[in-house]
């Protein structure tokens, strides 16, 4: 057992490498992203200074990029915690190198997405009114509640499984020893500590699933609780959740492929992981398409005038390009690429994932804007052209996402080291026993 362990520790050195070695490429990228962030901050200051007139929003299109990106980012955040919780819960052994990255996505993107409604406020200075004079009857307050709960749960769920790894970095010594010593919470790896940690992770992973589902459900409620045609639909809750998991898996695949390349994780993230995850992506794509089909078929078949007006506007109006782009990116591209073994290479999966992320952004746009642009009464049909300011804040949000990931990778291993090790030491035996217990004739 012992010599094998030493050999394994050497193998896992790849996972610690990014923490101790930083190339110039890292600083250059960080610098560029930092500039984008500064630009976005400057633009936001302009918006606060002069008012939301600086954006492309108007009457009747009173919501634009901020709300679209809010729904989009929160959707991406479902990658993480939800997927990792489901994989952990179902004891999928191949989860081990994936869960950490998935959870990091959630924590970072949730912070970005949760900020978006505040960017959208005309009076951010009165934000605290939400707590002081908040009406729980308003769907927006449901959002505040469930996003806060999800953020708390998912950051704790990210942190707890990190403790053994942090302790390991602490024991290796080097920079920021005090930080790791503090965050490791006195972890020594005793049997009792392991038991407590496992129990805490188990409780959290069960808790986090309903919270995650509630988050995107109540986000859809913002729209479906109104009487507006195109929004007032009972299917919206599950439709949004499915879309969220769909875009989340795609984002997770992109992150995995990117870091596999940059930090040379080929030994950990193998072809098989991408095959499995892309199968999940394919399933979600089909479920999403099924929901979309149901949503539009009922609208077209019933042909209630207002509803029909908006559906036709989506099919043929100024945003038709967005609508058909969405169908292309969310259905055709991923289904074709993942269904054929020849195309299902890592590059192919990467293309499919990028398409899905773009497609899901288009989907959020096509839900938010066309309904607002076509009010019920005979007022002029709205137009919406986002300004540079809104693009800047969108770019800023994406920059924060990448920066957050890069900085995280310089402090903590992106792949859970102790879980990989556990897979080697315990996992094999456990799976063997489990299969044994499935077989007929065993007790």
């Amino acid at each position: 057992m012992k010599p094998e362990n030493i050999e394994l520790a050497d193998k896992d050195e790849t996972l610690f490498r990014p923490i101790y070695h930083t190339g110039t490429g890292f600083y250059v990228t960080l610098g560029i992203l930092g500039l984008i962030l500064l630009w976005a901050l400057y633009m936001y200051v302009m918006q606060v200074r002069f008012g939301l007139g600086m954006t492309g929003m108007n009457q009747p299109v009173t919501w634009g990029f901020y709300i679209v990106n809010f729904v989009f980012f929160i959707g991406i955040s479902h990658a993480g915690t939800l997927i990792s919780a489901i994989l952990r819960l179902s004891k999928a052994e191949w989860r081990r190198p994936i869960t950490r990255m998935a959870e990091v996505i959630t924590a970072i993107v949730l912070a970005i997405g949760g900020l978006h409604p505040i960017l959208d406020l005309g009076r951010p200075d009165r934000m605290m009114n939400l707590l002081e004079a908040g009406r729980l009857q308003s769907p927006l307050l449901w959002d505040v509640t469930s996003i806060t709960a999800y953020f708390t749960a998912s950051t704790v769920y990210l942190y707890l499984p990190m403790i053994p790894d942090i302790a390991r970095i602490r024991d290796r010594g080097g920079k920021f020893k005090w930080l790791y010593a503090f965050m490791a919470w006195g972890w020594q790896g005793t049997e009792k500590q392991k038991r407590v940690l496992n129990r805490a992770i188990n409780i959290l992973m069960v808790m986090v699933i309903p919270i995650a589902i509630s988050v995107h459900t109540v986000i859809s409620y913002i729209f479906s609780m109104t009487l507006q045609p195109g929004w007032h639909s009972t299917i919206f809750g599950p439709y949004f959740v499915v879309g969220a998991i769909f875009s989340g898996i795609a984002a997770l695949l992109i992150v995995m492929i990117a870091f596999r390349k940059v930090y040379h994780f080929e030994n950990y993230l193998k072809e098989i992981h991408f095959q499995y995850l892309s199968t999940l992506l394919l399933i979600m794509s089909l479920i999403w398409s099924y929901f979309t089909f149901s949503e539009y078929l009922t609208g077209v078949f019933g042909a209630e005038p207002h509803e029909m007006h908006i559906i036709l506007y989506k099919f043929t109006g100024p945003f038709a390009f967005y609508f058909w782009g969405m169908i292309l990116c969310n259905f055709l591209v991923p289904v074709i690429i993942i269904s054929f073994k020849k195309l299902r290479t890592i590059t192919g999966i990467f293309i499919a994932s990028v398409a899905v992320v773009i497609g899901m952004w288009l989907e959020r746009f096509i839900i938010v804007v066309p309904s607002l642009a076509n009010p019920r009464l005979d007022v002029p049909i709205g137009i919406y052209v986002p300004t540079v300011l809104e693009w800047a804040l969108f770019a800023g949000g994406l920059a924060v996402f990448v920066m957050g990931f890069m900085i995280f990778s310089k402090f903590f291993p992106l792949i859970s080291v102790w879980e990989i090790e556990e897979g080697r030491t315990h996992g094999r035996k456990e799976v063997e026993n489990r299969i044994e217990s499935y077989l007929p004739g065993s007790s």
Binding site: L130, G134, V379
Partner: protein, 228 residues
């Protein structure tokens, strides 16, 4: 408790815009740049909905004055996260400008696009900066809308209270009704069966927008045409 309602007789309305102008002056509604107004930032509490049907030269232009409908079951107040818009016991749907956080959820929820938003710091034309001292001015980033000139109700209430009598029919009228040269806009207490509004609201010509939504709007339109 009275319940204030409005009747707009489209058969009498000439589409002259006097109501919209009177409203704008009465309520200190900011003026948008022409360019801004073109891109959908014009602010009207009383909006003249204009549609043109048919091809030139056989066109029919429809003009319908549209204030806030002060629904009895308002969809906008339901969604406000901070209670900055609410329906008071007299049926007026009111805004609290100093509480509004500017999320514009009420604008998205209103089926009649009755609410307007302060996209910029408010501007007025030269000489009109002083405005009506009875109406508070709004700041950038808040939602506002027709209040049925509730400041007029305040002063009418005070007078009636001082003289120890109920408010008489036609004593409290908003600026649009007062300024209408065709007397197409009638305003009053719809719970009072003696009032003109009550009588007109029972007319066979009556129609309301959004009746099928169950929001119970309190602005009644009268028209001989089957389609307004």
């Amino acid at each position: 408790m009275p319940k204030w309602a409005m009747v707009i007789d489209l058969d009498k309305c000439t589409g002259c815009d006097a109501c919209a102008v009177a409203c704008k002056m009465e309520n200190n509604v900011p003026i948008a740049d022409p360019a801004e107004a073109q891109s959908g930032r014009a602010m009207f509490w009383m909006d003249m909905m204009t549609t043109t049907e048919g091809a030139f030269p056989n066109t029919v232009t429809k003009r319908v004055p549209k204030p806030c409908f002060h629904c009895d079951d308002p969809p906008c107040t339901l969604v406000c996260p901070v209670g900055a818009t609410y329906r008071n016991p007299e049926g007026l749907v009111a805004q609290i400008y100093h509480r509004c956080i500017g999320c514009r959820y009420c604008m998205a929820a209103c089926p009649f696009t009755a609410k307007v938003y302060n996209w910029y710091d408010p501007k007025w034309i030269d000489g009109a900066e002083v405005g009506n001292p009875d109406v508070s001015r709004r700041m950038v980033g808040v939602v506002e809308k027709c209040s049925f000139c509730s400041h007029r109700l305040m002063s009418v209430k005070e007078t009636a209270h001082r003289e120890d009598r109920p408010i008489m029919d036609g004593e409290y009228v908003p600026a649009c009704a007062e300024s209408c040269p065709a007397e197409a806009i009638v305003f009053g207490d719809i719970e009072n069966e003696e009032s003109r509004v009550y009588r007109l609201s029972r007319s066979y010509r009556v129609m309301r927008y959004g009746e099928d939504l169950g929001v119970k709007p309190k602005v009644y339109y009268l028209s001989r045409r089957t389609e307004t």
